[in-house]
């Protein structure tokens, strides 16, 4: 017998759950301001999350998917991107979108049931939230192909969950990305749960990163609760992609501390004690501990930051609640570049039967 192929999957962590470095930090992390920016983004995302859940409970927005406990994945990944790279997110990636420039008002509009939430003014070339699981992997491959064809030094960064790695679009897209050697980075946010189905029932593979090997591309695993590891691994992968080195799959290990969405009750299928134990690994406290030890982060700074984030969220909520409802034309305006004649009669009917000012709607 001859061995014809072997593979290894590396695991990377820079700062452990206690905030202690486990190896020398990458250059960007030696600048306290850079780390504080990451810290701020995670704290802001968490403040947004808590408020969004409260808004759902009071009927001010619809179903919402919390990113509680997974803030480091989105923040670390997006902070490694250049403005002209393209983010191809799932539906739980507002922490990444905020770093990219999508506003909290826009995110609230999306979850509040208004298409304008995906028409964001920020990164105009970023893709919108993707709900059909893993379908976005193919979009990232296609966008990355366009960059390669036009010789643009850009990359597509795609986020998906552990459940997404079971779907055909993931395998098909990953396979094409390998064949075409496109500038794409695929980050699997392995939060251990696909609604109620745990990672152990999702795949018999020891890591999800190794699924990259079958597609002929690099796969690696990182501590997804260590924002330094996420940013560093993403930066390396993006640099490789932009330089023509091809795609990378990064499996970021984290944990979904909240319910799947506000429509879910995770106590039905998972042990409260297990979740409680997972809180010791969450990403925000460990970075705070590290900053306190190395960067002079203190109680005053922490309180100021918390206050600032709460105010930012509060302003966003006010602005969101002040956005007037869309008129009936919003259903037709962007269906096609130009409304086909065949649809004019239906648009006119929608106008005729639309609630008048002051009447209840929606």
């Amino acid at each position: 017998m001859t061995t014809v192929a072997t593979f290894e999957i590396s695991y990377t962590q820079f700062v452990d759950a206690q905030g202690e470095p486990t190896q020398p930090l990458p250059p960007f992390a030696t600048d306290p301001a850079a780390l504080i920016a990451l810290y701020r983004a995670m704290v802001a995302a968490r403040a947004f999350d808590a408020k969004a859940i409260a808004l759902q409970r009071t009927g001010k927005i619809g179903t919402f998917a919390s990113a509680l406990g997974q803030e480091a994945v989105g923040v670390g990944a997006a902070s490694a991107m250049r403005p002209d790279d393209v983010l191809v997110p799932s539906y739980r990636d507002h922490p990444a979108q905020f770093v990219r420039g999508v506003t909290m008002v826009e995110s609230l509009l999306y979850w509040g049931g208004d298409e304008r939430g995906s028409g964001f003014a920020g990164p105009r070339h970023d893709f919108a939230n993707c709900v059909p699981i893993a379908t976005q992997v193919c979009h990232a491959v296609g966008a990355a192909y366009a960059f390669k064809l036009r010789h643009e030094p850009r990359a597509a960064l795609c986020l998906l969950g552990d459940g997404g790695t079971s779907r055909g679009d993931f395998y098909e897209g990953l396979n094409m990305a390998g064949v075409w050697n496109v500038p794409m980075v695929l980050i699997v946010n392995n939060n251990q749960w696909a609604i109620s189905v745990p990672r152990s029932l999702q795949s018999a593979a020891k890591t999800l990163a190794q699924k990259a090997i079958a597609a002929g591309i690099e796969g690696r695993q990182i501590d997804g609760n260590d924002v330094i590891a996420v940013r560093h691994a993403t930066e390396e992968a993006l640099a490789k992609a932009r330089a023509g080195g091809g795609p990378t799959l990064i499996e970021a290990l984290t944990y979904r501390l909240g319910d799947h969405t506000t429509a879910d009750d995770a106590t039905r299928y998972r042990d409260v004690e297990t979740v409680r134990q997972q809180w010791q690994f969450e990403p925000i406290v460990r970075l705070r501990n590290y900053l306190a030890r190395s960067g002079g982060w203190d109680k005053d700074k922490e309180e100021a930051l918390q206050r600032e984030c709460a105010e930012q969220v509060s302003r966003a909520v006010d602005d969101y609640l002040a956005v007037p409802l869309p008129g009936p034309d919003a259903m037709f305006d962007y269906l096609y570049a130009t409304l086909p004649v065949a649809l004019e009669e239906q648009r006119n009917a929608a106008r005729r039967f639309a609630p008048q000012a002051g009447e209840p709607s929606g």
Partner: protein, 339 residues
């Protein structure tokens, strides 16, 4: 360069071509004139496509713009969507409509609503081409006519040409259209007959029916390959003194009902002919449109001549499945003789 492509080039842009050659000409024209256009699909590169629709294109435009993909239909549609949103104009080929079903998730959930859900921030100017229909004695899963699946989806265009000239002009229009177009090419017509096609880059209008023949007594409405039987039925009817107007619907979504209504206002009688199964077929939408907007012009119930509501038969029975000239004449007689 394949023989067909060479011959077309030598004949100085005007050529007698069949439908598959017309498709090839349109693809080549757009690849030549728009750097954003790329063509992708299974076996479309070196092999030139299983029907040779893309013959010679890879040699001419390179393997990065005429791309042989892995065998994965969902991803072919999905990457085309990503390419389109990132500024390219992909023309993706699905080898047969029988294999188009894995693309439905991508086409319905993403292609059709990319512009809408992003408020025009992103769009999806792509074409999904596929050979469709029965009548070439093909194996199982190679003879379907699922246009109604796509015609039902808001945000899409569903186009089927019925001749080389319309294949050329409508495919150019589909590629240039800023929104996603599903483009079915009737396999039975690929090599059935030739037409003069001037390779001048002139597109035909989408969202428009074409009146192929004017008449007084009866309106025959059809699309794709079935126009062959429809035209033959009209000839037979003409021999008995019946003057039939013939409409090629061409774009099934959005539907140009006005042209059909105008015709029926003149003739008062209408027979709709399509190869796809009857129930919830596109013929039902046209008949409903006539009932809603043209009832007072109708002198007889609208007749439908369609494929039966059965699985498309394997080749031994496919000719009994597809609407025949006799069935069309029979329906026309019913419409004409209705008191």
């Amino acid at each position: 360069m394949p023989r067909a492509a060479l011959r077309l080039k030598l004949e100085n842009q005007v050529a007698e071509v069949n439908l598959v050659e017309a498709v090839n000409l349109a693809l080549a024209y757009e690849l030549e004139h728009d750097q954003d256009v790329i063509v992708l699909g299974e076996d479309i590169g070196v092999n030139g496509g299983v029907f040779r629709a893309t013959a010679g294109l890879q040699a001419r435009f390179g393997s990065d713009r005429v791309v042989d993909t892995p065998l994965a239909e969902a991803a072919i549609a999905g990457v085309a969507i990503g390419m389109a949103a990132a500024g390219l104009k992909p023309v993706a080929e699905i080898q047969f409509t029988g294999f188009i079903y894995p693309t439905l998730d991508q086409i319905i959930n993403h292609a059709s609503r990319m512009r809408h859900r992003t408020r025009g921030r992103l769009s999806c100017p792509m074409v999904l081409r596929a050979p469709s229909g029965a009548g070439i004695h093909a194996p199982e899963h190679h003879s379907e006519s699922p246009e109604t699946l796509f015609a039902h989806v808001p945000g899409l265009r569903m186009v089927i040409p019925s001749s080389p000239a319309r294949a050329y002009g409508l495919l150019l229009a589909a590629i240039r259209d800023p929104d996603p177009v599903i483009f079915f090419e009737p396999t039975r017509l690929y090599r059935l007959f030739k037409q003069q096609v001037e390779d001048n880059g002139e597109a035909l209008p989408l969202d428009a029916c074409f009146v192929l023949r004017e008449g007084r007594d009866l309106t025959l409405v059809s699309w794709g390959a079935m126009l062959q039987e429809t035209l033959a039925a009209a000839d037979a009817l003409a021999a008995t003194g019946v003057s039939a107007e013939i409409i090629d619907v061409a774009t099934l979504k959005p539907l140009d009902l006005a042209v059909i209504l105008e015709s029926v206002a003149k003739t008062g009688r209408c027979v709709i002919v399509h190869e796809a199964p009857r129930t919830v077929g596109c013929g039902a939408e046209i008949a409903a449109g006539l009932a809603e907007h043209g009832l007072t012009s109708l002198l007889a119930p609208v007749q439908r001549v369609t494929g039966y509501d059965v699985v498309v038969p394997l080749p031994r029975l496919e000719n009994q499945y597809m609407p025949s000239v006799d069935r069309i004449i029979d329906a026309a007689r019913k419409a004409l003789e209705y008191a």
